[in-house]
Symmetry: C2
Subunit: 403 residues, 2 copies
């Protein structure tokens, strides 16, 4: 086996391990489909999965388990949406009261926990993309530091008029930079309802003094956060609303993270910025009725034809938002659908299946492999009914889970 990087070698070993299977009758390990020559490399460099530890806390063993499963599917970025309105589970040494916003003292990560996750992921070829979502989705920050709220009655977004807000962001990113060594940090920027800023007298006064309306203040906030992140050596990912509202003001080091709908990637790369695709109608795992077939058929380069623009789409990410999942059901909700997207992100375009149904057999096989490796992936859903008598898939999920 030859590889240009250690990660390439890891992926190669992963492939090899998936070509081996134990024959329970002969009690020998068989290697499938020999002889073979595999000349393989990923189509996209960014192949992500988002987890969200704010809506529900995920214990460390569960996160490690998710990382293991990602490696099996050759996903290579764990986008850790650490904090949101609901809770602030991470220790921030610079501002130690922030994790007062955790659900409870047992639902917290120390910085040592975070370092352990980063290290565990790195050994499996996976980068951790930490997210600090500002200025919206940040209500839980104020549990420990109420002055970050515009007021006690109007708690979101973070107070744009308060210098302390940006000091805290600087402190957090300073602490981040000691642990989260990936070149990118995610600064959020989505779904910002700025009405608290004009409704709160001292913020409204500040806006007038600085001749800003709400949307200008939103832009100001995002760009300030970007500056701080750049000073800590990060390149930046921001959700697409930032681009949609003031794309020409964003740092050229910004990667725009699509989630709202189609067509955004086209506009982002036409503007010369990089893009990650996660359109919610196709790649949101918390949309429980989205089928694996829809996951498979979502093509990141739709309507992007120029080679130099295609290169700006660095990849895509499936998103496991935390409202519906905790330790009880996260594996079943991520898999097998994330694997359909993983194939889309890895495989050369001309080798992808033209119709999802051609994938059924190998996805059922892969689901089976996950089960055998201790990942409780759910069965393939109903869209491809089994033909009876005889089964369409080489290894069917039901019997697979029995083994």
């Amino acid at each position: 086996m030859q590889a240009q990087t250690v990660y390439g070698a890891l992926h190669g070993l992963q492939t090899l391990s998936q070509l081996c299977q134990f024959n329970f009758s002969s009690r020998v390990i068989e290697i499938l489909m020999t002889p073979w020559i595999i000349n393989d490399q990923p189509r996209f460099s960014f192949r992500g999965l988002l987890i969200d530890t704010s809506r529900h806390y995920q214990p460390l063993p569960i996160i490690k388990n998710v990382i293991d499963s990602m490696a099996y599917a050759k996903l290579n970025v764990l986008h850790w949406h650490i904090v949101d309105t609901q809770s602030f589970p991470l220790e921030i040494p610079s501002y130690p009261k922030l994790w007062d916003g955790a659900y409870s003292t047992s639902e917290r990560y120390t910085m040592a926990d975070a370092a352990e996750i980063v290290s565990y992921a790195q050994k499996r070829g996976i980068n951790v993309l930490a997210e600090l979502d500002v200025p919206g989705h940040a209500l839980s920050w104020g549990k420990g530091y109420p002055s970050l709220w515009p007021s006690k009655d109007c708690q979101e977004p973070l107070d744009v008029s308060n210098e302390f807000t940006f000091k805290v962001i600087d402190g957090i990113l300073s602490d981040f930079s000691k642990v989260f060594k990936y070149k990118f940090v995610h600064l959020g920027g989505d779904e910002v309802n700025t009405s608290c800023w004009t409704l709160t007298p001292h913020v409204s006064k500040w806006l007038k003094e600085h001749s800003m309306n709400e949307s200008q203040a939103y832009q100001y906030f995002v760009l300030q956060a970007q500056k701080i992140a750049l000073l800590h050596g990060y390149e930046i990912v921001n959700w697409e609303e930032t681009f949609n509202n003031f794309g020409n003001k964003l740092s050229p080091k910004t990667v725009v993270h699509n989630w709202l709908g189609g067509g955004v990637a086209q506009r982002v790369v036409a503007a010369g910025l990089r893009c990650i695709v996660s359109n919610q109608d196709k790649w949101y795992l918390d949309h429980l009725d989205t089928t694996w077939e829809q996951f498979y058929m979502n093509e990141p380069l739709t309507n992007i034809t120029k080679s130099e623009q295609q290169k700006l789409v660095i990849g895509g990410e499936v998103c496991m938002w935390g409202e519906t999942v905790d330790a009880s059901d996260i594996q079943q909700t991520i898999w097998p659908r994330a694997a359909a997207a993983a194939e889309r992100l890895w495989t050369p375009y001309d080798k992808l299946a033209k119709e999802a149904k051609q994938v059924t057999g190998r996805l059922a096989h892969f689901r089976c492999l996950l089960n055998q490796r201790g990942i409780a992936a759910a069965p393939l859903a109903a869209d491809t009914p089994l033909t009876q008598p005889g089964r369409s898939a080489p290894l069917e999920p039901g019997s697979c889970y029995l083994q």
Copy 2:
């Protein structure tokens, strides 16, 4: 504690067990809310859950686990949709080739297995309603007995023209009656596409000889199956299409099982028949986007005001169709949503919450109890976002699953 039946006593003990909790600090068992007097009885006598072992096989320990969880929620009917088009997993001693239609030899239930399930359920106050869905949803029967198909090219519904078809049904119901002692058997009758009957020459000829069109033959089939079931001492449950098409011909011992939409129960009870409610837009667990709030708010007696008609709605049932679930995810998909329906079916109308959000706290608590008892119930979904700081629910799913 006083109860009129042993099942009442079981339910009472269940309630008692749920009022006790172990205090991990003081290391004593505490009884909540004492002193109390509870005068309790179910609103509906039929409180069901459907499982489907044809689309995916469910191992015996999983079925027992489902039965355990039903008892915790005071559900009392396990509707076992044993057979369907996809597979025939049950041994039928009278026609031993029927289970050739099983997915594999390891995905079968012997009659002894079935008896074990019935006994296990009975000890927990739960009846097993076995379903033999005819004449549609029966393709797998023909794996062992191809003459049950109209032809090799047109395999559904069962051949109405063949006396052998009804002999097999008689044999199955005879075998059923030795194990499934509940007074009801479910004879299906849903989603019957009869086109194979006119497309197949020998069946088409038979129809002409008997002056039947396709819909008359469908009626004939269902009524023949009803007669056989009655001879074996069963009362009958049929899916609503039988009522919708020829309700006035059904045996008065029929319970009509609603699934398609609203308003059916009204018409059924107006016709003097009994009804079970399972409307698919509210009480189908395989509709993954249906929230627990929608499960809770589904009222079986909607628009049924006359007391004698209300009594004919004997209850309701939540349906866990098998396309999306096997051993990996069935618990997570059934719970907590089935518990919301269980409260609707148990609690007196005037004590039910008027708005689902009033239920959040106790449903989160119950989900926690399920977790503690080894049932991997999923967290409550996103429709009732947690208020931060502090939690709306007394025991939150996330931390609960950690314990």
